[in-house]
Symmetry: C3
Subunit: 200 residues, 3 copies
């Protein structure tokens, strides 16, 4: 199994896990837990594909991920208290930073493939990275965290997407551009988190 595949599964699991936590904190039942986890994990990529008119959707061609989240939902409800003890906040932030990076760069690469102009492609990267969480918060009746907590999150994604786009323009091999800009997002997110940087 490739390292990309492992990070991809990890990113989806992290998305689902943050959905589990928010759904449980709203006292949702097992149906709510699955729905919110699914929307968090796949919402960003699905919105991007709808905007690009790309089908089939990722989770349609890879139904194993949907089944995985379904099975996890069945055990998540009773296990969430235990899980939150085992999995520290730090681990969640780190895994989520990898998820943000991977989703964002995958999103911008897809948009370039689909012939989008460059600024729109960078937006599609950010949408893929952050809209899972935005849709999760809308379903849970909250103002989306990412739009108001002032932490550099979408901006890390945006910066990484532009690093990727500029490297492509400069003729740097796509593979190197992909990995270095993804690492840039991870680094920027973790550094600003750790230093407590706030935007206005």
């Amino acid at each position: 199994m490739s390292i990309l595949k492992i990070i991809e599964i990890l990113a989806i699991l992290v998305g689902a896990f943050s959905g589990f936590i928010e759904a449980r904190s709203k006292r949702m039942d097992v149906v709510g837990v699955f729905t919110v986890a699914f929307i968090t994990a796949f919402g960003g990529g699905t919105l991007r594909d709808i905007l690009l008119d790309k089908r089939p959707l990722f989770w349609v061609t890879h139904q194993e991920y949907a089944i995985l989240i379904f099975l996890l939902s069945l055990v998540a409800a009773p296990a969430i208290r235990t899980l939150r003890k085992i999995i520290s906040e730090r681990l969640i932030v780190v895994a989520d930073a990898f998820g943000l990076a991977l989703f964002s760069i995958a999103g911008v690469a897809e948009a370039i493939d689909a012939g989008m102009p460059i600024f729109i492609a960078s937006m599609m990267g950010v949408i893929t990275g952050i809209f899972g969480g935005i849709l999760r918060d809308i379903v849970c009746n909250e103002i989306p965290m990412v739009l108001r907590d002032g932490r550099p999150y979408a901006i890390c994604s945006f910066g990484g997407c532009w690093a990727y786009l500029l490297m492509l323009q400069a003729g740097i091999p796509a593979d190197f551009a992909l990995w270095s800009s993804a690492l840039l997002i991870v680094g920027a997110r973790l550094l600003t988190w750790w230093r407590g940087v706030k935007l206005q």
Copy 2:
């Protein structure tokens, strides 16, 4: 007029009616009443068709349903108090159970037609059945009822969709599979409602 057609119209009317009630309880005006009723009646099927990339949408080819909800909205605002007296909660639950069943099985059948893998098809059935109500609650600024009240609702739909899929796999005629699994959903919903069954 076929029995299927009658149930279909009834399902749409029930969806619209639950939209009327929620919109009025939020003190919405006539525009809000129509919008919320429309979203409740057609939101699930529209979301499914967008995910499947299927056009034209149901309410586009059948604009008579949109016009019907429009006309009902004009009279619903003053009439809602009277209607709630005439129409008991029990009647609403029964009609809504038929709506859930019909929308769910229609949704799973459409998804199979569109070549979806089997687990995704069952999800599309549930989405068709329950997302009208979820979108209604999001527009009305509520945490969606179906995700948190612990009543077996989505799960009845899910079970019925799988009954349908398994019957198809077993070579049972599509017509019989459709009707018996729809009745299964109705039965499961009404029985669990009547017994007060709760999920975790």
Copy 3:
């Protein structure tokens, strides 16, 4: 630059501006300000194009508008207090009435082009005109203003769309139909606003 182009840009700016104000009143950061402004300006047209399955989206072929809103978002956060002093509420209502009119008639014209039946086309006009604001309010965790404040807003759009459709049916030149029905929307909106007309 044509007068239509100027009104179009004005309409988008007005949409973005109402997004800026609502995002700031919710204490959102710069990412939230951009996201909400973008959704308000383009949400209605984007939803219409998704329902019609029309691509590429308006803001994809015109990325200059997206860039403009992005740049404005960077300065909007500190400037919003000053802007609200310079720009009176009356000016916002007037500009917004032109935006509603332009978006609505553009929406109904697109829908007719796409072969929609007549009632659905009128709905598409209204959706284009009002859903930017509805999505803005959903993201900001409010019950959408347009659905509950009882002011004739969607109804002005609806009336104008039908005026346009009936003029087309009557063989009146499309250009004249477009401009006179847009002015009808502007007039109806401003007159009912000024007279304080309320719906039930």
